[in-house]
Amino acid sequence: MLRDKHLTVTVSPHIKTDLTTEKMMWTVITVLLPVAAAGVYFFGIHAGLVILVSIISAVLAESLCLKIMRRGTAVTDGSAFLTGLLLSLCLPPEIPLWMAALGSFFAIAVGKQAFGGLGYNIFNPALAGRAFLMLSFAKEMTTWKTLTRFPDSITAATPLNLLKEQGTDALMTVYGSMPHLYKKLFLGNVGGSIGETSAVLLLIGGCFLIARGIITWHIPVSYLATVAVISVFTGGISNVLFQLLAGGLMLGAFFMATDLVTTPITKSGQIIFGIGCGLITMLIRVRGGYPEGVCYSILLLNAVTPLIERFTKTRIFGTQKQ
């Protein structure tokens, strides 16, 4: 028996971090709060109610499932709160409240707990909830609120919608010049989902998370770079900034595609994941039936994540090659 206190023998792991699941979740939530606030500022009080309702519904669904399934994890780890918040941020601001609640409930009960709870879900729960709502209520999910808060506000569909349905000329007539459109997309004074309008807030939040080490740069950078490269080929240099700023790309790249559970753990796998997301996003935007493809691209790549991990497994040193 070792008595010397300078010679303590413990089992691994020997290096510990104070970054717990709980801490991570609440940090991401804090980072997203300004984004949510911007959504409420631009779209009005109903957007705030949507956010609130979907968070409450997610937390209720989580505690209900944990109780029924007798799971060890606590609802206070913030993961359900974050799922509810993320889901509400990719909903249109005028969606009826009960639909938001239903989507949120689905996200937690089916998207997460039915698969085994936190850490076991295959698909990003928030995006699973959104896909469910999209499939169920196509009309409500694509009705975009007209911004009436500002004198120079635009009363039209989202920029990506306009581009898809009426082409570049219509986009120019509605938004005036390209720089004007960029400014709107950057600051957030533009039609769209609650949390995807302000690119600048999402960028700041994403960079903060990378700086804190909660997410790594691999997925967002490879995702955005792929989109940028493809947009050069499909619409020239002037298309790049638009494709990067419009739609849910920033929200998706920094907050959805970086979910720790549903994305590869290997660095090279993460880069493959990001490139795959970028390819499918642009495929849907350019060739597909929907104006925006961020949600489905991430869900599809979630599905192949185990495969990516298998192919990018790191070599174990000191063993014979099989």
């Binding site: 009826p96 239903l102 089916v110 039915a114 469910f132 499939l135 169920s136 209520f137 196509a138 409500e140």
Partner: protein, 205 residues
């Protein structure tokens, strides 16, 4: 293994304990396809029970003269005959429904529940037992299909047997009448079945 069930037990086992859909998980393709409307589910269940009943009896009657090696083709021929009968009867009495569902009615030929019962039960048991087994399986299948269809039609169309029953404010959940809705409903019902069985603590056999 000696079969010790009474005739009543032979019938009732198909309803809960060996429910073809929720416990055996067989024949899910027609379930996915026709369970979005209660009306379809009822007719499908009726056609299925008809075919199940007569093919089980026939297989049991000829079980001793069918050579082991060609038994599956023989079963298929027997089943296909009764599916044809069921199809012709439906064309006669309810042509409108048949037009809508003919594809799925015809597919009963390769339904794995019917074939499965022929292979595992009717070919080893006498006619009376086989008939009892078919009735139980028919009720179990129709009942399961009915439950799934009720859930899907009410949530996906807001109707029950074609009659609107939900309030105006409720927007039907379209995904429930599409394939994902069928998978979700069946999945959760199976979970419920397992949960109840676990509670009762009698996972038989």
């Amino acid at each position: 293994m000696k079969n010790t069930r009474t005739l009543i037990q032979e019938t009732t086992k198909g309803i809960i304990e060996r429910n073809p859909i929720f416990v055996l998980c067989l024949g899910l393709c027609p379930v996915l396809a026709v369970s979005n409307l209660v009306e379809n589910a009822v007719y499908m269940g009726a056609a299925f029970t008809f075919v199940m009943f007569f093919s089980n009896i026939t297989v049991s009657m000829v079980r001793k003269i069918i050579p082991e090696k060609v038994r599956i083709p023989c079963y298929i021929v027997i089943i296909a005959s009764f599916v044809t009968v069921a199809g012709l009867l439906m064309q006669w009495f309810i042509p409108g429904v048949y037009k809508k569902m003919s594809l799925f009615i015809n597919l009963i030929v390769v339904n794995c529940i019917v074939l499965g019962r022929a292979e595992f039960f009717a070919s080893k048991n006498n006619v009376v037992r086989s008939a009892a087994d078919a009735v139980g399986m028919g009720i179990g299948f129709t009942g399961a299909l009915f439950i799934i269809a009720v859930i899907r039609e009410i949530s996906g169309f807001g109707t029950f047997y074609g009659i609107k029953i939900t309030p105006e404010a409720f927007k039907p959940i379209t995904s429930m009448i599409l394939a994902p809705g069928a998978f979700l409903t069946i999945g959760f019902l199976i979970a419920l079945f397992n949960y109840i069985k676990l509670k009762k603590g009698n996972i038989s056999e």
